[in-house]
Symmetry: C2
């Protein structure tokens, strides 16, 4: 019994062309000795450039969200027991496959640099066992590849249900997939909602992605009895 | 009813004198235009210098642990409902008081820079409502200040107990304090153990600090019925 976690529509992308010439992007490109178009868009450094994107820039450039969510997932007992697999689906329709034994960098900037390497070379590290790999893929393609018989989307627009009850449903499925949004605020696109089997809201209050990941995995562990001593 | 969370013995300190001259520290000091002794020790940048400390360097220079733990705690429904207070107690016996409405930087390096400012100016930001403040204080001093009638230490050396049961005990206390270790591996010092009322281990496997924080707060919320819709 394995749970598949997909951090979906994650706020990860390369710097878009229209702001590649912005001073905040150019300054970082010089510092990192990289082509501006090979940088991962990052609110921490490209805030002013993202503002130039107007309303379409909202919520973009937050690779830290997928990073913290992954750290939470990979450190869980469920993962330690090899019963979790993790994918990051990005805003620009790439899918990152994460080896569950990967020791990710703990530093946000190091993780972002790793993503930059991943966009360029499709696999990291460049030799030995791949810890992360990237391909162009839609969420639909990924779900098909996973033969998911249940895809539960956790979203503020879903019907209210305690996570422990949602976990009970996941345990019943053959190939359960859990979709958590890798963006700061708002909700999944209609496309993602249509791809999911059910949509639930697990708290009255909006929660950060990594909190949702932590709670979902913990309740799933309890459902399968992994919390026993 | 408020829960007090103390990230104790956190792996946070200024660069110690004996390695302030190391090339990895000097390089970062030049980059940040700071006195090397005013930098926070950081494995991501001072790895080679920390190795020079020999066995006493083990587990030091990990401000990211307190950072992720705080992000997890501050994003919780318990905190949103103003029923959580957070402190960081450091390895070098400082205590950081964190305003529960603080929006911390999401980027590890930005958080570390904020800590550097905090060590220098004792409060951040430099004007307006303080989001974090720092003083020289031992864990004993902090627990006395909090009038804690129950201080539960979560540690691999404690007696096995499911976190939901631990949460049930915390709810019974007047001023419950939860101690979570802000270090990468190992366990609390004997001093800390003696200051705590009870010591529990909440999983068979060792867990990362931010996982412990997330699970503890979630179970505490369930104990006080905060998960109801």
């Amino acid at each position: 019994l394995t749970l598949t976690l997909v951090i979906a529509e994650s706020s990860i992308e390369l710097v878009p062309n229209e702001i590649a010439g912005h001073s905040s992007v150019r300054a970082q490109a010089i510092r990192k000795r990289k082509d501006p178009r090979k940088l991962i868009l990052d609110q921490s450094y490209h805030h002013a450039a993202i503002l130039k994107l107007g309303s379409s820039g909202a919520g973009r450039g937050r690779p830290d969200i997928a990073h913290f969510s992954l750290l939470t997932a990979l450190g869980s007992p469920l993962n330690q027991e090899k019963r979790l697999q993790c994918f990051i689906h990005t805003f620009d329709n790439h899918v990152v496959t994460v080896d569950t034994s990967a020791r990710l960098p703990r530093n946000t900037d190091r993780f972002t640099s790793l993503l930059e390497q991943l966009y360029e070379e499709k696999v990291v590290p460049d030799r030995g066992r791949p810890l992360m790999s990237l391909k162009k893929q839609t969420l639909q393609g990924l779900l098909r590849q996973l033969s998911a018989d249940l895809a539960v989307a956790l979203t503020v627009n879903g019907s209210p249900k305690e996570m422990s009850a949602v976990a009970g449903e996941l345990v019943e499925a053959e190939n359960p997939v859990l979709l958590v949004g890798g963006f700061p605020t708002g909700h999944f696109s209609m496309d993602t909602v249509k791809l999911s089997t059910r949509q639930y809201r697990i708290d009255r209050r909006p929660l950060e992605a990594w909190s949702v990941v932590g709670r979902a995995i913990y309740d799933y562990e309890k459902s399968v009895g992994l919390d026993r001593f």
